[in-house]
Symmetry: C2
Subunit: 284 residues, 2 copies
């Protein structure tokens, strides 16, 4: 498996880490970057993350064997339309986005008459962003979810599975809809909670924040994530998130009732159950 | 400032770290430990954390210049009653508990006719427990809240302030009631949230837990904390916690409504406000 020419659309933390990981393992010839800010692309080229760049996504993608979308999901469809005419026959187009569902079908509709689109999501984000924190080993030991549909070209999918495995990821496949449920629960929902925990302390008394210890810092670390990205995710995964918030609010109401009636046994049972599950996940 | 004889009641993570910190700085002569489990005390003595131990708290505390409660708060009052008759005149009695409020007044009532009680709470916990993770530097750079009342002996309090400063802590004083509000907000409330986030994912679909990334792990790290300790804290800080849960549920309902009506601007505003506040806290 070798990609003579690769295009990374969006050279941020994930896009740049993907480029570095490919280069480190000798899986590609040259990498071309596309992005909105020329200054970032110049920096990425200086650092050897990409070999060249173009401010037009079509030109950047022309002739590439592998094109990866690591742009904000809100610009996927528009960018796909801009590149589709330039794509090389037989190219594989994929992404690294946190949202799948309808987006995968939209990408297929735009692209699949010319090339193979396969959705992918390496679970390796961070509250940080930008190429400064890019890391060739970012995906090692992490899960990468690949989301085939009925239309997905199986050969292209097999190539992509091998690629992510080569980068050290554990590949799991599931439908785009299942992906959005799973990630909604373990990633999207906790981001809303982290943001609102910080806002809740401010509402209670903002001066209290200066007394927070490591527990609060860890619990709310992801509240430093990009507000635009997580706004888009909330809009995208609306139904799942409303359901999960309802489940969570229901549980908080129950705990509140236990506290109100001093039901220590029920509280302990709740906490013990959570501790057992959490201990199993390990710490890193 | 030098304490010829010190008694540590409860040799767990905090008690053992306190003992090590005193020894490291040469602030004490000998340290006697008391606890429920002889095996733990034997281990603590073998590791040089304490110099001797006694399974009776009164005998352990007799003749000591400084007695520190690092036991579960639920046993404070009973243990205070068991030691009060043995305490040396002029001894300073203090604690390291996460709960203050009525407990401080209760301790004063039992102890203050003989010795000076001053409540203290170093904000340096961990989801871990036990002497294995004890650390002489645990309190360095951390806040320690001292909670004087109208009855507090000012000389004893000044000694305690100097002591914690010597251990590297930044000392802040506030009333026991204010302490419980502040810690309820930045520590007790986030523990409930972490436990219930784990339980919520189980309720949604427990199999999803295997897909959690670093964000979820960090957000729920404190759900590995002691269920008994946090059950007791919930019972103790009841009114504040019910208020905080109401504030939080109110905010989640608001966010849910924004998501339901696709109000992207309001969501972004929520998240941006939280990010600004959280970024100020730094990462540690």
């Amino acid at each position: 498996m070798f990609f003579k020419r690769v295009t990374v659309l969006g050279v941020g933390l994930i896009g740049a880490s993907f480029a570095l990981a490919l280069k480190k393992r000798g899986l590609c010839g040259t990498i071309t970057g596309f992005g909105r800010r020329a200054s970032n692309l110049v920096k990425a080229k200086e650092r050897g993350i990409i070999d060249s760049f173009d401010l037009d996504p079509g030109t950047a993608s022309a002739g590439s064997d592998l094109v990866i979308f690591s742009l904000p999901a809100s610009s996927f469809a528009e960018t796909a339309k801009r590149i589709v005419g330039s794509l090389k026959e037989g190219a594989i187009v994929t992404d690294v986005g946190s949202m799948k569902g309808g987006l995968v079908y939209e990408m297929e509709e735009v692209l699949s008459h010319r090339v193979s689109f396969v959705g992918a999501h390496p679970i390796a984000g961070s509250e940080k962003s930008g190429i400064e924190t890019a890391d060739a080993c970012l995906f090692e030991g992490q899960k990468c979810i690949i989301t085939p549909t009925e239309k997905t070209d199986r050969t292209a999918m097999d190539v992509l599975v091998s690629l992510w495995q080569s980068l050290g990821a554990e590949v799991v496949t599931m439908s785009p809809e299942e992906h959005d449920k799973v990630l909604g629960a373990v990633s999207h929902f906790p981001h809303i909670i982290a943001y609102e925990m910080v806002n809740a302390i401010e509402e209670i008394d903002g001066s209290y924040l200066r007394y927070c210890g490591r527990g609060f810092r860890d619990s709310t670390r992801i509240a430093s994530s990009s507000p635009e990205l997580w706004r888009d995710i909330c809009m995208f995964n609306r139904e799942n998130l409303i359901h999960f918030l309802n489940v969570f609010i229901g549980r908080l109401e129950k705990v509140k009732a236990y506290i109100a009636k001093s039901d220590a046994d029920s509280i302990e049972l709740e906490f013990r159950n959570a501790k057992t599950l959490r201990d199993r996940l390990g710490q890193d």
